[in-house]
C-alpha cells in the first residue's frame, strides 16, 4: 500500500529535483503553509518566500524558495520556481548575501505593498534559518 507520490521541482535552468517516493510536501503557499498528501485534489497555487519541506522514506529535505508556482495533478506535484536552495547546501555567506539583499529591498520606500510584503517575508524566513 503506497502512500507516495511524485514531486518534480524545475527551475528555469534545469530540472532541479525529481523524487518518486514522497509521502508529504509542505509548501509555503501564498495564503499560508499547505501540506500536500497523496490524492490531494488538483490544485494550482503560488508560493511566497519560505521553507519547502519534502518528507519521504529516504529522508526529509528542506529547501528555501523565494517564489514559484505549485501544480498538483494526478499525484504529480510540479513546483516551478526561479530561486531555490537546499538548506543543507546553503552556507552562511550565501545566506547572509540573500538576507542583505532582502533587507535592502524591504527598506526601499518606493516599492508596492505587495513587493514589500514579499521582501519582509524573505527577511523573516532567512533569519529563521539560522
Amino acid at each position: 500500500m503506497s502512500e507516495e507520490f511524485k514531486v518534480e521541482i524545475v527551475n528555469p535552468e534545469k530540472s532541479f529535483l525529481v523524487k518518486e517516493d514522497v509521502s508529504e510536501v509542505v509548501v509555503p503557499a501564498f495564503e499560508g503553509e499547505m501540506g500536500i498528501l497523496k490524492d490531494h485534489i488538483s490544485i494550482i497555487s503560488f508560493l511566497k518566500p519560505g521553507i519547502l519541506k519534502i518528507l519521504s522514506k529516504s529522508g526529509d529535505e528542506n529547501y528555501y524558495v523565494e517564489d514559484g508556482i505549485v501544480e498538483f495533478k494526478n499525484n504529480n506535484l510540479s513546483i516551478l520556481t526561479s530561486t531555490i536552495f537546499n538548506i543543507k547546501d546553503l552556507d552562511k555567506s550565501k545566506q547572509q548575501d540573500l538576507l542583505k539583499q532582502a533587507e535592502e529591498e524591504a527598506k526601499k520606500t518606493e516599492i508596492t505593498d505587495h513587493s514589500k510584503f514579499l521582501a519582509d517575508q524573505k527577511v523573516q524566513v532567512l533569519r529563521s534559518i539560522n
Binding site: 534545469k14 485534489i41 490544485i43 494550482i44 497555487s45 508556482i69
Partner: protein, 291 residues
C-alpha cells in the same frame, strides 16, 4: 603569374586562417554541447508554465476583467518587436536569418499603417537594423558580460517590456529568435508574447477542474509577468544554442574551404616551380648547343 615567393606566402596565410577557423569550430562545438544541454533542460519549465497558464486562462471566471497581459489592450496599433541576436559575429547566417524574418514582419506592420517600436537584444541585431530602422529602435540591450544565458538577464528584459506595457507604450509584443533544431538547422521564429497567444495549444488544454488558491485572477496577475520572463529566457537559450551550432557549421565550412584553397595553391606552386626548372634547363641546353 604570381611569383613563387608570393605563392608561398599566400599558402602560409591561408593555412594560418585555417588554424583559426578550426580552433573556433572546436570552441563552438564545446560551447554548443553546453548550450544545447541547457536549452533542453530549460524546456520542461517553460512547457509546464505554459500548461499552468493555459489551465488558468480556461478556468478564469470573467473574461472581461482578465489581466491585460493575457487579453491585450483591445487595440492593435502599436507593435513592439524584440529582436534577439548574438553579440558576436562569425556565425554564418544566424543573425541575418533573424533580421530577415524581423524585417519582413516590420514591412508588413508598417504597410498596415501601424506604429512600430523595436528593442534589440544583442549588438549584432542593432548594427544591422539601425541603418534602416534607426528611428524605430527605442532600446538596445546587450549582455556582453554574461557568458551564458541566464534567467537574471531574461528577467531584466521582461521587466523593461512589462514597464512599457503598463505605461501603455505598445499593444502587441513579438519576440524574434532562432529556434534550435539541430546543428545545421535553426528556424527563425516570431512569437507573440503580449497578449498571450495560445491559439496553437488550445485543443491540448485539459478540462480537468483545478482548485485555485488564491483565485484564478490573482494567480494570473502574478504569473503572467513570470511567463514573459520564462518565454524570453527560453528564447535566449534557444538562441545561444543556435548561435553556437550556426558558428560551428560556418567554421567547419570555412576550414574545409581553406583546405581546398591550400591544395589548389600548392598545386599551382609546384607547377610554377617545375616550369621554372624546365625553363632553366632549356636555357642551359640551348646555351650548350650553341657553342
Amino acid at each position: 603569374m604570381a611569383s613563387l615567393d608570393d605563392l608561398k606566402k599566400r599558402i602560409a596565410s591561408v593555412k594560418s586562417t585555417q588554424k583559426i577557423t578550426k580552433a573556433m569550430k572546436m570552441v563552438a562545438a564545446a560551447k554548443l554541447r553546453r548550450a544545447q544541454e541547457s536549452a533542453e533542460n530549460g524546456r520542461p519549465y517553460s512547457e509546464k508554465m505554459k500548461n499552468v497558464i493555459l489551465n488558468l486562462s480556461n478556468g478564469i471566471s470573467n473574461k472581461e476583467n482578465a489581466p491585460k497581459l493575457l487579453s491585450g489592450t483591445g487595440n492593435d496599433k502599436v507593435h513592439l518587436c524584440v529582436v534577439m541576436t548574438s553579440d558576436r559575429g562569425l556565425c554564418g547566417g544566424f543573425n541575418s536569418n533573424i533580421i530577415k524574418k524581423a524585417k519582413s514582419y516590420f514591412t508588413k506592420i508598417l504597410s498596415e499603417g501601424k506604429e512600430l517600436k523595436i528593442i534589440t537584444v544583442g549588438s549584432k541585431g542593432n548594427d544591422q537594423l539601425k541603418r534602416m530602422y534607426g528611428d524605430k529602435i527605442i532600446e538596445n540591450i546587450s549582455f556582453k558580460e554574461s557568458k551564458n544565458a541566464n534567467y537574471f538577464d531574461a528577467d531584466k528584459v521582461s521587466k523593461i517590456i512589462i514597464d512599457k506595457f503598463e505605461s501603455s507604450e505598445f499593444d502587441v509584443c513579438t519576440i524574434f529568435y532562432n529556434q534550435f533544431k539541430n546543428v545545421i538547422t535553426q528556424i527563425p521564429q516570431a512569437q507573440q508574447i503580449v497578449p498571450l497567444d495560445n491559439k496553437d495549444s488550445e485543443d491540448k488544454a485539459s478540462d480537468e477542474s483545478y482548485e485555485f488558491e488564491p483565485d484564478e485572477d490573482e494567480i494570473l496577475v502574478n504569473l503572467l509577468p513570470k511567463n514573459i520572463s520564462t518565454q524570453i529566457f527560453k528564447a535566449m537559450l534557444e538562441n545561444s544554442a543556435s548561435e553556437q551550432g550556426s558558428r560551428m557549421s560556418a567554421m567547419d565550412n570555412a576550414t574545409r574551404n581553406a583546405g581546398e584553397m591550400v591544395d589548389k595553391l600548392t598545386i599551382q606552386y609546384n607547377r610554377s616551380r617545375q616550369a621554372a626548372i624546365t625553363k632553366e634547363l632549356i636555357e642551359i641546353i640551348s646555351g650548350a648547343e650553341s657553342l
